[in-house]
Symmetry: C2
Subunit: 226 residues, 2 copies
């Protein structure tokens, strides 16, 4: 499903920053992968490239056999919207849009009937425990509540792959565990989960751990007995 | 130093939200306190009131014997700027200002000479391991790097009390431990540290843990053997 070959990402600047320094791996459909590593090691940069939100400086990235180099921005957006859910490290909620409408965003161009969109969004918010905040705005929510809205938005259209960047970073362990249970359920149903985390209890739920350091993969192990 | 008596905070709305439902405690100078609790339990709301960034709906809050009700916004800002450092859960860095200038902000009205301001800001950034990012802008940094800039800004003018809301939320355990070492050092020098965290290893560094649930204190214990 996902194939990365020698991916590099260099941010320009007076002193260029090498965020990814040649990364290669394959992720099959249905896997549950955790990406771990120190702050600044390139995790979010790699997630954005995998989720078609950014292009590598060099190297090959293929999603279902299609290389990112051969797709224009419209095609990337269409595949991303249909197949991928993304939880950003900084949530990226629309500030002037209610919680319910934020979660409906991925459904806007799906062709699904509006009542059905409304039902799906409410169901996703129920799953993350936020049914009592549907008509609030993001700046009226706590940090962890905003994070949970971002998670509801990422799962609302049942995408085949979910990229979650630090989904439990602002949550207490009980709320964090609830989120991990949701991701585990989705994985049991066949969805591919790719998770960045620095929390041990979150990484331990994955079946495979890819470890980054200074923009390179230093370890990539199947974790037994999950 | 800090005295709270029956503090309540109710956010208005179609359905008003009771964020704090009568909170009372005393914190003496030089303490190291962790505030823990589930997502939405009122931790950030309480931190903002303690740091003079918001007023309670009712109840008494005193800092060094002065009640927040008797101080106008200018007086609050002056005390806050002189005595308090604040690490926000959402960092709150100025996007169009370099990392170095973001950290200098608390020094702008301190009357300290500009070369000295520059030296203090560089020293704070060195402490959090970001000397290689002085002239970058916040949106060029990773999540954890932005968090560390926010921490450097909170400690730069050696405030007598530091309020840190989830300071390790986006950091791997090694970077997170470095931050806790900085806070522990400051506490050894007599600075008061008040920390919100949902991470066990962070709460365990404190000498006292206040536990919030649904806007109330359900536990307040001195933790032995620190
Ligand atoms: N500006 C606001 N308007 C309305 N309600 C608010 C506002 N800010 C916070 N709240 C509500 O008040 C409650 C407490 O919020 P607070 O941010 O203090 O929680 P918290 O303990 O810091 O949570 P987290 O761990 O998720 O950051 C939450 O239920 C939240 O929805
Ligand atoms: N837009 C940008 N311009 C320049 N440098 C950048 C940019 N975004 C990220 N970087 C740099 O690239 C490196 C990798 O960043 P990235 O966000 O991928 O790290 P990360 O592993 O997600 O870190 P964290 O755990 O702190 O979120 C960092 O050193 C960062 O400073
Ligand atoms: Mg990141
Ligand atoms: Mg909070």
């Amino acid at each position: 499903m996902i194939e990365a070959k020698d991916i590099k990402k260099i941010y320009p600047g007076i002193v260029p920053t090498v965020a990814l320094d040649g990364v290669s791996f394959v992720i099959k459909e249905g896997e549950f992968v955790a990406i771990v590593g120190p702050s600044g090691s390139g995790k979010s940069t790699l997630m954005h490239i995998m989720g078609f939100l950014d292009r590598p400086t060099s190297g090959v990235y293929k999603f279902r056999g299609k290389s990112i180099d051969e797709l224009d921005d419209d095609q990337l957006a269409r595949i991303r919207n249909k197949e991928m859910g993304f939880v950003f490290q900084s949530f990226n909620l629309l500030p002037r849009t209610t919680v319910l409408d934020n979660v409906k965003l991925p459904l806007l161009y799906s062709g699904i009937a509006r009542e059905q969109q409304d039902r799906m969004a409410r169901e996703a918010l129920e799953k993350v425990g936020l049914s009592h905040r549907l008509f609030h705005y993001p700046n009226q929510l706590s940090g962890g509540e905003q994070q949970r809205v971002a998670i509801a938005r990422a799962i609302v259209n049942h995408p085949s792959v979910i990229f979650a960047d630090e989904p439990t970073g602002n949550l207490d362990s009980k709320s964090g565990q609830q989120i991990m249970d949701i991701l585990q359920n989705l994985n049991d149903q066949g969805h591919t989960i790719i998770l960045v985390t620095h929390e041990k209890y979150t990484a331990q739920m994955a079946k495979r751990i890819i470890q980054l350091k200074d923009g390179r993969i230093v370890d990539d192990q199947i974790v037994a007995c999950r």
